[in-house]
Amino acid sequence: MEIMIAPTLSEQILSHAAGYPVRAGDVATVSVDLVMMHDSLSPSIIKVLHEELGAERVWDVQRVAVVIDHVAPASNIQTAEKQAGVRHWVRDQGITHLFDVGRGISHQVLVEEGLAQPGLVIVGSDSHSTAYGCVGAFGTGMGTTDIALALATGRTWMRVPETVLVRAVGRFRPGVSAKDLGLRAARILRADGATYASIEWHGVDFLSIGDRMTLATLSIEMGAKAGLIPPVGPAASGFRVPDWLAVQAGADYVRTVDIDLAQLEPQISVPHYVDNVVDLTELGRVAVDVVYLGTCTNGRYEDMAAAARILKGRKIARGVRMLVVPASSEGLRQAAEDGTLSTLLAAGATIGTPGCGACIGRHMGVLAPDEVCLFTGNRNFRGRMGSPQANIYLASPEVAAATALTGYITHPQDVLER
């Protein structure tokens, strides 16, 4: 008798997109619902599309989103000229969705715009395209050639991934948040623990879509092809969940990791690898030059608000620069409307144009040799944000705010209790 094993979320979505039931390990052609491309790779994607593939038009002008976020606004004549070329191409193709300088980071914007929906297959020219898992979409990052092929055909090929289950129980203690859960998982699974696999994050139904995106974006830092949060709980209510998409009992997981949120301490990722994670309490005294709050992992309104709650009525330490780069214009607007922004400014922080900012080390806060940065982003690779002699520590927005107040990496509880 054949034993029926229930499909994982990835298997459900890829079966739907393949048009027949697929299982982990199968190689299948799947239809793509949405292609995201950003300014950094768009010039080369457009070139491959037209010059190498010989395609004249994208397959569907309504299912392509072009976002100018990586170097926004342009930093020099080269990038300005290439962005101008991308805008011209978008007009010429008649592509519906262009999100230009200042609208924000692709992943956050596509969720805010309702383009990312549960059950879709979304491919993006950015490794953090796992982000779309925050709404229960199968989001994955690809390079120039794969994106050009998807633009030309509306399809791509996939090896259907196995699934690693990360199961959270309990609730966070004060000063601990989704970033700490994500970094804890990276500490356990390591940088290659989910390579070729997808991660499902269970037990996080109480989290906001933003916090779910923190987990989804960090999934790639464990090597994952996708990072899915089941589209249930209050935050998922505004999304269109297809009736065929749900966690099923008896699904096959290659590995299960259990994390008790009530026991979780703030986690710090120490240079120069994301999975080099310790409890903040084990860290010792680390003085910082820069506190940087931003990125698709932790640059949203709720991240700014979490920092503002700690910074309210206080001043950041002398000698520390605090840069806040909102993940989107919508987040910035919300922060301006409810006073979060004025709290940050009054504390001594400065605000950048919504977008990727200095995350890729190209502009807007590049680090000097020997500088130390406490970063709410997702990568602390050597040279990532500028000088290869700089040191980047990854942490939550709460730790970022506490650190800005003292000038060294600080537990949020230590400044809240004073």
């Binding site: 027949y20 052609t29 190209r362 290869p388």
Partner: protein, 167 residues
């Protein structure tokens, strides 16, 4: 003969090409060939020769989706990359560009700087020291993509993607 360039575990795409050296940031995109491992291993780009091999530890190419990381390695003529585990986006990008990647751990077998010869078709490495190393055979669709010269010529030849197709 070709030279072995040995690397450790978790080599990320920021080490292969820092974001600041992306074609997007360069006046002349052909300059990309000057920058593989520009900071992580400055002796690489000036000395690498066509057909040289990269032999690395686990999780080679982790990080960004930037295809210009494997593209820079293709531009300098890297013959193959051999590692026990590849990060998936890098692996796919390298496959798409037609760079052979073999899944094997040779970090304890070969030495940095040693001269070897790789027979891609047979999947065999012969070293100057007289060793013969057989590489595990990649799935046939990968060989087909390499032989076509990458996924673009593959798609243009066969009019389809690898794997089962019903959509």
């Amino acid at each position: 003969m070709a030279r072995v360039w040995m690397f450790g575990n978790d080599v990320n795409t920021d080490q292969i090409i820092p974001g600041r050296y992306a074609p997007y940031m360069l006046k002349n995109e052909q300059d990309l060939r000057k920058y593989p491992f520009v900071e992580a291993r400055p002796d690489f780009a000036p000395n690498v020769a066509p057909h040289d091999l990269i032999v690395a530890g686990r999780n080679f190419g982790c990080g960004s989706s930037r295809e210009y990381a494997p593209l820079a390695l293709k531009m300098v003529g890297i013959g193959a990359i051999i590692a026990p585990l590849f990060a998936r986006i890098f692996f796919r990008n390298a496959l798409n560009l037609g760079i052979p990647c073999f899944t094997a751990d040779l970090t304890q077998t070969l030495r940095d700087g040693e001269q070897v010869e790789l027979d891609i078709e047979q999947g065999v490495i012969l070293t100057e020291r007289g060793m013969r190393i057989e590489l595990p055979a990649p799935p046939s669709f990968m060989r087909e993509i390499w032989s076509a010269g990458g996924i673009v010529p593959y798609y243009r030849t066969y009019g389809r993607f690898p794997g089962t197709q019903r959509v």
